[in-house]
Amino acid sequence: MSPEAGLYVHVPFCRALCPYCDFAVNVASEKRRSRYAELLLTEIALCWGGKFDTLYFGGGTPSLLPAPTLARIGEELSSRGWLSPDCRVFVEANPEDVNEDALVGFREARVSTLSLGIQSLDPESLLFFGRRHTRDEAARAVALAREAGFDTVSIDLIYGIPGETEARLRKDLEDAVALSPDHLSCYQLTVHENTVFGRHTRAGRLEEVSDEGQGSFFRLTHEVLESAGYEAYEVSNFARAPEHRSRHNQKYWRHQPYLGLGPSAHSFDGRARSWNERSFFAWERRLLEGKVPTAGKEELDDRDLLLETLMLRLRTREGVDLEEIATRFGVDLVESNRILIERSLEDGLLTRQGSFLRPTLDGLAVADGLARSFVLSPHQWQTARS
């Protein structure tokens, strides 16, 4: 694995399940939580390892793990020589877990980026999300984190909830900006099937925001944050300066390799993607049997990789590097998509800068549609596959 790989550790516990979340999490007992660290060390011992310059604790709620546990995992990885000297460590935390002691612990565990799951500063929205913190607690957590001296303090927000107005969203964003985080992740609410919101939607109790509304909220979010000096480097991610961009998450969008540990975590080696058992129970059982907890794997052919490249790169402001695609896949994307590209440039969805096709804000808003529209086929691929 190349040196710029990322390491992801999934911490599958939460205090309670949020009504919108479809991640692999559960409300675990103290006992199970303490077993988790041992199991993770077992998984580390079993896997192929590598050299990583990012270590990301995501979840779930990683802040539920005591800081010394995080430190111990980090030390284990270090002692195996897996972490490069400038490795950045990321931790997701809930505001209610943030206090002086915890922050000192994170600092000792070499955490460089703290990502706070605020979701909103609007009391009504917080109620809707079923979060257990108040607006003031959230603000306090951000302030404490900033004082603690992390390289980057990031906050997560969710917008586009039913009944939200543009005025309310604008206020929420402005309040968030007032906390001066280095980084923001602003996600449009997605209603997933196997969630409380999914059930409400099916039962007709919850109505999703229309395409028009989503479009407006999306543009409003970008407008407010960009005018406050945050650069949207991805569909949902904003950074105050380039050094605050998420080094880890950028690996996903750049198709760089990553190794995932913990239940449901995904790994990618540049050609194949594999994923761990999703349930804690199955993941634990495999490890106790001394086996790698992989549940599935797919080999990607050139066409899959190209489609993913487009789909991921069009999410980023950096955009698609046509030269890179030509070298990597031997495809002249412009040749086979001349009309699409011309039309996208004309309609202001893309701009052309050197060998890059970069999405504009309007382009980011329909990135999936754009990715879908590209003809990928050198003709021979299609015939070879069929």
Partner: protein
Amino acid sequence: MSSELVRNFCIIAHIDHGKSTLADRLIQKCGAVADREFRDQILDSMDIERERGITIKSNSVSLLYNAKDGKQYQLNLIDTPGHVDFSHEVRRSLMSCDGALILVDASQGVEAQTLANLYVAMEYNLTLLPVINKIDLPAADIDRIREEIDSDLGLDPFEAVPVSAKLGTGIDELLEAIVAKLPPPSGDQETPLKALIFDAQYDSYRGVVVLVRVKDGRIAPGQHIRLMHTDKEYEVEEVGLLQLKRVKTKELVAGTVGYVIANIKAIRDIAMGDTITDAERPASEPLPGYKEAKPVVFSSMYPISTDDYEDLAKALEKLALNDPAITYEKDSSSALGFGFRCGFLGLLHLDVVQERLEREYGLSLLLSAPSVRYRVTLETGEVLLVDNPSLYPDPSRISKAEEPFIKASIMMPERYLGPIMDLCRERRGEKSLFHYLAQGRVELTAELPLAEVLFDFYDRLKTLTQGYGSFDYELLDYRETKIAKVDILVNGEKVDALSQLVHEDKARTRAMHYCEKLAETIPRQQFRIAIQGAIGAKIIARTTINPFRKDVTAKCYGGDITRKRKLLEKQKEGKKRMKMVGAVEIPQAAFIAVLKSDES
């Protein structure tokens, strides 16, 4: 068998009046088929015929009937199709008969097609025997029907035989009446051979099986024959009678209806209505009545999957072996790929051919808007026949355009006259005339452009008359008209498969209709899509499809990528069935919705 003991007849009926059921009863009564082998509508051999209750290809059967006079008669029942599109087949069938049963529904009464075919039967001097069917129905009104037979058909109402083909009531009486009232065939067995070809079937082992009515002379295996119109010669291999199955005989003599097999390769090699004569001892002139079946409705057929083009070509070739009325030639569209420009006898014929291709050959097809054949005179004086919009000359070169007109005959209860006259006016009808038939029924005749009848005229008629109206037509002539070629543009690019030739007055409405249908069926994309209808450079209709304002998922990290790619993959898969016009994806469903829809 002496020709005194032969009766050649057919059944003339409006669709749904029970012709095939009556044929079934006659066949059963004469024991031509064991009860356990019997199935309904036994003469309708195609599934479509049985399902739709219509007869498309006529079939014939020879029955042996032991009459009350103690003699055995050979009854040759020649089945006829029951729809206007197939009137050429009706004609041929009638020419081979000496008599006809005129079947009238005991509740519906005389309908337009019955009347139209009756006139044809009279042209050929057939003896007519009225039959009132469905007397078992509660709504049956035999007295009223007798009155209609008298006033509308001009036949003796008291000769009419009441039957219920469904229950078998009155069938004995009908068989006796056939023997007593219909004449035996005339004809001289000793004069040179004259046999009328009225139908043909294709047998993959024996080639073409020609159905003939021998008018004069005799025909037997080994004989050298000549087809007088096509001027081709063959040697007869086998002759015989059709008794549901082919039954070989030594010869066919004047007056008989039977089949001839003579090593003929394709139905295209023969012409319906042609006369067979003896090559060595030819007749001096052919029998009258040869008339070529000409297609009047044209449409381009494209396989939905372009890979199926070869299959479509093969299927059409095979289908044409059995149905020489179809014409086809290669055509291509930049939106839909390669296909065929096909000619049909009418809309039902088109429908039936499409259905047979889809059902019997497993093809999925897309058809362009049906068109009539226009006659265009250029400034140079050159005259072109144009049915394909893509071949329509530049308007500046045209000095005159003409379109085919029909004479439509519509019969209906009086109370629907107003709405139907409006319908005819709306369809550019001329010279509407009506006259009262028996008891509150009216016959309306009008001269209409055929093109106006192609678009849902029949459906509208049925709706407006609540199913009581019936319709028949014959082609009249070509009349001067103003045609416009309407193009449909998607984001400025012409979708050639949607171009059509329309009367100028209807151009805007038709174009608007197409634009709206497309706007309903083309999915939103990330671009604004402009849909326009145009005549030349002039835009006459316009709609737009607004782009998606948001089409991107909020999160896409490690585990989401595979899931997301698979979703995109699936959506891309759906696009394979889409046609790209400019950067716009048009799903097949949009073409289908537009091409199948009507104006109303």
